[in-house]
Structure formats: structure tokens, C-alpha cells
């Protein structure tokens, strides 16, 4: 509107603020939230690499060797390192949020948050330990 605000007591002229595209830079927790959402891309990246690995495995030893060689290039090593950090961020932030969604009651009392979070981390450790055991055994 070019011609100044029109206002009558019965038709208040509201002011509506528009949300900036950069809203997620306004405060640190918004930025953390967007980073956490972004981690899903890296989780998907690992899944794609895994599928790629399966395909190479199905194509025979030569293709698999090529696949392994490609993963050892500096580009993939760097990408893997970044993706790993994001996946770690993904796991930790989501583990820490579990007690919000899961209210566990034992004998009518709410189990404290740290127990819910702690059992998630414990399960993570056990599974990681089992995977490490299988991989390092031979």
C-alpha cells in the first residue's frame, strides 16, 4: 500500500511479521535443530554406501575390490569422516530426546529421564560391542 495506513477503530490494521528464510540463524537452539534435521542426509548417505557395497559384492571379487579402493580415496575418507560426525550428532541428540517421547512408569512412578537416556546409551554400547566383536574376532 502506497497511500499510508488506513485505520478505523473498527477495522484495526494489523501488522504481520514475515518469517525470514534465515530464521534458523536467529538463535543457537534453532541452528542446532536445523543441523539435527540435516543429519538425516548423512544417515541416508551411509545407507546408500551400504547398498552400493551390496551391489559390488554381488558383482564379484573384482568389483568389490574396486569398491574398497574407491572408499580409500581421500575424497571418500573426508566425506565419511564428516558423515560420521553428523551421524554421531544424530544419535546423541535423539537419544537425549527420548525421555520426552517415552514416559515409562514403574509401579505407578515415572522412571527418571536419565534412566531412559542411560538405557538407550547402554543398548548402543552393547550393540556396538557385539558388532566390534564379530568384526575383530577373525
Amino acid at each position: 500500500m502506497s497511500a499510508g495506513p488506513h485505520y478505523t477503530p473498527y477495522h484495526p490494521r494489523w501488522y504481520r511479521r514475515h518469517v525470514s528464510v534465515w530464521w534458523w540463524l536467529q538463535n543457537r537452539s534453532y541452528t542446532r535443530f536445523v543441523l539435527r534435521e540435516l543429519t538425516s542426509v548423512f544417515v541416508a548417505f551411509f545407507a546408500v554406501v551400504y547398498l552400493w557395497q551390496l551391489r559390488a559384492l554381488a558383482q564379484g571379487p573384482e568389483a568389490y575390490g574396486q569398491f574398497l579402493a574407491r572408499l580409500k580415496t581421500p575424497f571418500f575418507l573426508a566425506l565419511d569422516a564428516v558423515a560420521f560426525l553428523f551421524v554421531l550428532f544424530h544419535a546423541i541428540t535423539w537419544f537425549n530426546l527420548t525421555p520426552k517421547a517415552m514416559v515409562v512408569r514403574l509401579r505407578g512412578k515415572r522412571v527418571p529421564d536419565w534412566v531412559v537416556v542411560g538405557s538407550n546409551y547402554a543398548a548402543w554400547l552393547v550393540v556396538s560391542g557385539a558388532v566390534a566383536f564379530i568384526l575383530l574376532r577373525g
Partner: protein, 247 residues
């Protein structure tokens, strides 16, 4: 010791401005003053035209929510001394249309609140002479936290999803729906789920978690929404596996 502090207040006078502007007032600093006291000082002594909403001054009515230095706060519970040396910036709550100065229009919230049916729904009311609906302390405990909501709308102002998707039913309304769902006397969970499982309901929430951080009553709306999602998902799986069991 500081004797005065600068209070920078957002002004919007629709009869002469098309956009909000800032005005700074020097106010006396007192240790026991909250931001609302400072605003009342401005209104009484410096500029009577400043408009803002307030009532109880003790964190119960939920009227005086504003943004103080960028964070949604109840101004009656926000001490000046926590913001020294100033200036202290006071703005209306985000995402609601501003009517004047610090006053926002809350019609949208009130409409959404009503939508989730925040009252006890019974399939059949008991006759009066059958007595009250009894409840144990444990049953009260299950929903008490969510019942502390005072409708101050700070959580809406903290929720970027509400800003980006104005149709979103929003944190407080969902927490209050959950308050009644968890109430042992209530039988309206299915009715509420119909409304809240709509696209503008719980699934809009991406769990930013800011609503819980700004809540002055520790209601934890983010928790309420995630718990609701969990029970809605469980309900859905059950209805898929046992279509006759959920009715």
C-alpha cells in the same frame, strides 16, 4: 550501582505507522522491578499511549507474554536485574498479528484451543446422585503437569513451525488436548485424535523443543506432542493389525 536502565520498546501505532518502530525510555532501576513494572512506569509517568496487556502480575493469568531481548517471557516474572546493564528490548510475541504496540491478536490461538475440545468428554454422563468421578493421586499425577498451562502463548512465539505453517494447531493446544486424554475421567481421546492426526495436528511438529524451554509453567508441550505421536502411531498400528480391537 546502576540508577537507570534503558527500555527499548516496540511501538506500532496503526493510525500513523505502517511498520513498528522502536522507542527508548530511561527508567529508574529497582532491584525488585520486573519488566512489567517498567512498562507500567512508562505508561504512568512517561508515555500514556503505550499499550500492552497485563492483569494478575503473578504468573497466573498468562496475559503479559512478550519478547524480552528476543526470548518469549512473562514480563511479570522477568526481572530487570537479569538484563543489566541494558538496554532491555521488549517486543510483542512473534507470529501473532500485532494490534498495537505490544498487544497481539490471539483469535487464532483461542480458535485452535477450542478445536481440540479441552474439556472432559463422557460417552454417558453419570447421574448427579451417583456422585463424583473419583480419581487417585496417581491418576491425577498422569496429567497434572499438562494442566498447569495458563495459555500465555509463549510457546507459539517460540515455535518456528507455527511461524512457517500458521495452520499448525500448536504446542499449548496439543498439550491441553493431552491433558484431557490422560485424565482418567475423560473418554474423548478418539474424538481429539481425529482432529490432531490431521495434517495441521501433531505431525507438523518437528520437535524443535523451544516451546518447552520458554514455558513458564514447566508444562513441556514438546514432550506432550511427542507422547501423543507415539500413542497415535501405536493406535494406528493396532488398528491395522486388529481392526476390530480399537473400536
Amino acid at each position: 550501582m546502576t540508577s537507570t536502565v534503558a527500555l527499548t520498546v516496540a511501538r506500532y501505532r496503526p493510525e500513523k505507522e505502517s511498520e513498528p518502530t522502536w522507542e527508548t525510555y530511561e527508567i529508574p532501576f529497582r532491584k525488585d522491578w520486573v519488566v512489567l513494572d517498567a512498562l507500567n512506569h512508562v505508561k504512568d509517568r512517561l508515555d500514556g499511549s503505550l499499550s500492552f496487556r497485563w492483569s494478575c502480575r503473578m504468573g497466573v493469568c498468562g496475559s503479559c507474554g512478550m519478547k524480552v531481548n528476543g526470548t518469549p517471557k512473562l514480563t511479570c516474572a522477568t526481572f530487570l536485574s537479569d538484563y543489566l546493564p541494558g538496554p532491555i528490548r521488549v517486543e510483542p510475541l512473534d507470529y501473532f498479528p500485532v494490534v498495537r504496540d505490544l498487544v497481539v491478536d490471539i483469535t487464532d490461538f483461542v480458535r485452535k484451543l477450542k478445536q481440540v475440545k479441552p474439556w472432559i468428554i463422557r460417552k454417558e454422563e453419570k447421574a448427579l446422585d451417583e456422585g463424583e468421578y473419583l480419581q487417585t493421586p496417581d491418576q491425577l499425577d498422569a496429567y497434572k503437569q499438562f494442566s498447569m498451562c495458563i495459555n500465555c502463548m509463549l510457546c507459539y512465539s517460540a515455535c518456528p513451525i507455527y511461524g512457517l505453517e500458521p495452520g499448525f494447531i500448536g504446542p499449548a493446544a496439543i498439550a491441553l488436548a493431552q491433558r484431557y486424554n490422560m485424565d482418567s475421567r475423560d473418554q474423548g481421546a478418539a474424538e481429539r485424535l481425529e482432529i490432531l492426526s490431521e495434517p495441521d495436528g501433531i505431525w507438523q511438529c518437528t520437535f524443535v523443543g523451544e516451546c518447552t524451554k520458554v514455558c513458564p509453567k514447566h508444562v513441556d508441550p514438546a514432550g506432550a506432542i511427542q507422547q501423543y505421536k507415539l500413542s497415535a502411531a501405536t493406535h494406528w498400528v493396532k488398528s491395522l493389525l486388529l481392526p476390530w480391537g480399537t473400536r
